[in-house]
């Protein structure tokens, strides 16, 4: 009898608990799970909005079309190049930013806020800013370089595959490094000061301190940052859309940009959804590898 009563109480508690998280769960299902399920189901259909009466199931046709097209491998390569370059740039600059924030003695609030400004600007606006800056005739980049006599004639940044890629990577770096700085900065704050003091007493230099104490302590944070930025880089869109439009000659067209072209240009929701699904799977694989490789011992 007594036992039964207590059981009843737990159930009551549980009901209260579940009803508390129900709204959040519902929200997650509606804005997270449902769209994913719909996208995956579209990817197995011939679904072109301009041909609304002919929507039908086609099995893996969309995937076969994609994987056997040269275009897919081209944009996959571009995405990989973009992801690696942007992450290297962003991690290095982000780390430097975090160290600066951490060692700021004066104007701490101002420094921390100022660093965050690029991150607060919408990506498409940053894209248009950089597209204007890198314009061969009207841009400030060429004007600056000409003023300091590094170049004689305007360089046409966006008509060369390599320099165009560099331009989009720079724009993305400028937008994303504050986020990385902030995360690493938060990690730095959690490392106890006395560990550094002990190292100092033991006679460890700055370099040794950095590699033996700072980095290992940041492993968890770095994993999260890398994970988020890999996802971000694989699904890069706004920067590409605003600066190069995938050009020149498709040199900066990325996976998601191509998916956008299928979806919003050709209105081919089948093919576009298949590509989106592939992007999701790629992100899952990358995340899995990161977690395996960088798994902390504890």
């Amino acid at each position: 009898m007594n036992k039964f009563k207590s059981l009843k109480k737990t159930t009551r508690d549980n009901v209260a608990g579940y009803s508390m998280i129900l709204p959040a769960l519902l929200l997650l299902v509606v804005i997270g799970i449902v769209p994913i399920v719909i996208t995956v189901s579209y990817s197995f259909q011939y679904k072109v909005l301009t041909d609304p009466l002919d929507t039908h199931f086609v099995g893996l046709d969309n995937y076969v079309t994609l994987l056997s097209s040269e275009l897919f491998w081209e944009v996959l390569g571009n995405t990989a190049v973009f992801a690696v370059l942007s992450m290297v740039f962003e991690m290095v600059i982000g780390f430097i930013g975090a160290m600066l924030m951490n060692s700021a003695k004066k104007f701490v609030g101002v420094v921390r806020t100022a660093v965050l400004i690029p991150w607060a600007i919408p990506g498409i606006i940053i894209a248009y800013m950089f597209s204007f800056m890198f314009n061969d005739q009207l841009g400030v980049v060429n004007q600056l370089l000409e003023t300091v006599h590094l170049i004689d004639a305007p360089v046409s940044w966006l008509t060369n595959g390599t320099t165009a890629m560099l331009a989009v990577v720079l724009a993305d770096t400028w937008k994303q490094f504050p986020y990385i700085s902030l995360m690493i900065f938060a990690g730095l704050q959690t490392i106890p000061k006395d560990v550094y003091e002990a190292a100092q007493i033991d006679g460890a230099g700055r370099v040794a301190t950095f590699f033996r104490i700072t980095l290992p302590n940041l492993k968890g944070i770095l994993l999260i940052v890398l994970l988020f930025r890999t996802m971000g880089a694989i699904r890069i869109f706004d920067i590409i859309f605003g600066i190069t439009g995938g050009g020149p000659a498709n040199a900066t067209a990325t996976l998601l940009f191509q998916a956008y072209k299928y979806l919003f240009g050709d209105m081919n929701f089948g093919l576009g959804s298949a590509l989106s699904t592939i992007i999701t799977i790629l992100i899952l694989i990358c995340s899995f590898i990161y977690i395996k490789v960088l798994k902390t011992d504890d």
Partner: protein, 443 residues
């Protein structure tokens, strides 16, 4: 403590509300839109005059591209004199045609009732019409169709049904500096010759600027070059573009860049970039759309008053000047909740009075034939007479169901050939193959 509880209640309420509205939006089904498609609203234009305003009422949301001149708002004011009971909510979408399309598609694909009327690029009509997003206005337009110029009028139709009202037409034109050259070049050879001779005069740095940004600019400009040189795109149901006319056109563009007549950057420029270069006085000749005329003669332009305009020059193998036909229409959302007001509005915005205002204030090219003959218009814009020929010779882009799938293929292969990543033969052969495959899918 109490405050916290109140706050959490409010937040919960807000959350629930978002959920509800989120679900509500997806309610519009395709069955609704099909029913709306057959709906035809009575045209009441004939019975309405300034002294006798209509009592038709309703609320119309009108979405347009950015209009810096404020002309659209003046046109709406005129409309309200005739229809005082219809409220027009004018919203502006920023960015170029692709940006506008993206924003519009989100509402249209979701079956929203707004926007009721919107400015629709001529290349979207077939796509949006085929998707069932546009109201069928065949009967309404048939009553007034003889008022319009034939070329632009044809862009309102898809599969013999009208889905839009003509707004303004557009065509690629050659702009030149009147203070440097007296007569514009009529052929490619003259263009090169004059550029070499006169570039540097009057502060110019370059001979000829145009737009080859990988996107619609590449398709429009390159098709123009090809057709100027006697080439074709879609002909008799097939794309057969791997020929000398196309190759010479590609070679011509590469030479313009190699010889410094055009900056290398043209391959990354959009119309606005080109216009800025011309406004700065850096270029002798410019290929641009009609909108550039007013803006290159505006106070902010360094070449104001020195700008002449002519049809684009003809290629070595070509016989006639050929500019790409562009322009915008007014389309009505198939799901509009105020069909009669929307039709009245679109019809007015497309009418003689509205177009005259648009020509005078924003320098657009009318689609209403009578506006070309209007004395007041001709006194203000004498150039309209000069370039009517260019407008009449304008060539449409391939009129297929999914033009943008075709255009994506053009862009990639033209760019690869121009940048030398593929030989002309390889690029054009592969392009033809993919174009025909894409076309077959659309049948």
């Amino acid at each position: 403590m109490k405050l916290k509880r109140v706050l959490s209640m409010v937040l919960c309420g807000a959350l629930a509300l978002t959920l509800l509205t989120g679900c509500g939006n997806s309610g519009g089904s395709s069955a609704d839109s099909d029913a709306e498609n057959g709906k035809t609203a009575s045209s009441s234009r004939e019975d309405v005059s300034e002294e006798n305003p209509s009592d038709l009422s309703g609320e119309v949301t009108f979405v347009s591209q950015n209009d810096q001149t404020g002309t659209l708002d003046e046109m709406i004011k005129e409309f309200n004199k005739l229809y005082p009971d219809i409220t027009v909510d004018h919203q502006v979408l920023p960015g170029n045609s692709d940006d506008v399309k993206k924003s519009l598609m989100v509402s249209l694909a979701a079956g929203d009732t707004e926007p009721d009327v919107f400015e629709c690029d001529i290349i979207w009509v077939s796509q949006f019409g085929a998707a069932g997003w546009l109201m069928d206005v065949t009967d309404n337009l048939a009553a007034v169709s003889d008022e319009y110029v034939a070329g632009p009028l044809s862009t309102c139709y898809y599969n013999d049904k009208a889905y839009a009202y003509p707004n303004y037409t557009d065509v690629g034109l050659l702009y030149y500096r009147k203070d440097v050259v007296d007569t514009p070049p009529a052929t490619w050879d003259e263009l090169v010759e004059m550029s070499k001779k006169h570039a540097g005069e009057g502060g110019t740095k370059y001979g000829y600027v145009f737009q080859m940004y990988q996107g619609e600019p590449t398709s429009c400009n390159m098709l123009e070059f090809i057709k100027q040189n006697g080439g074709t795109d879609l002909k008799d149901g097939v794309f057969a573009m791997n020929n000398d006319n196309t190759k010479e056109a590609l070679e011509f563009v590469r030479n313009l860049i190699a010889e410094g007549i055009s900056p290398e950057g043209v391959l990354s420029h959009k119309p606005d970039d080109t216009l800025s270069i011309f406004q700065e006085g850096d270029a002798l000749f410019m290929r641009n759309w009609t909108y550039a005329y007013e803006l290159s003669n505006a106070d902010t332009s360094k070449v104001a008053g020195n700008v002449g305009v002519a049809p684009l020059p003809v290629g070595t193998n070509g016989t006639e000047s050929s500019g790409t036909l562009g322009g915008w229409n007014f389309a009505i959302n198939a799901n509009t909740d105020a069909p009669e007001a929307a039709v009245a509005f679109a019809e007015f915005m497309s009418s003689y009075e509205a177009q005259k205002l648009s020509v005078l204030k924003r320098g657009t090219f009318p689609t209403n034939a009578a506006v070309y003959e209007d004395e007041e218009v001709l006194a203000d814009k004498p150039y309209l007479a000069d370039i009517k020929a260019a407008a009449e010779n304008a060539k449409p882009r391939p009129q297929v169901r999914d033009y943008s799938a075709i255009s994506s293929i053009f862009q990639v292969y033209f760019h690869k050939a121009l940048l030398g990543e593929m030989t002309d033969d390889e690029a054009l052969e592969q392009m033809d193959q993919e174009l025909n495959a894409a076309l077959a899918e659309q049948k």
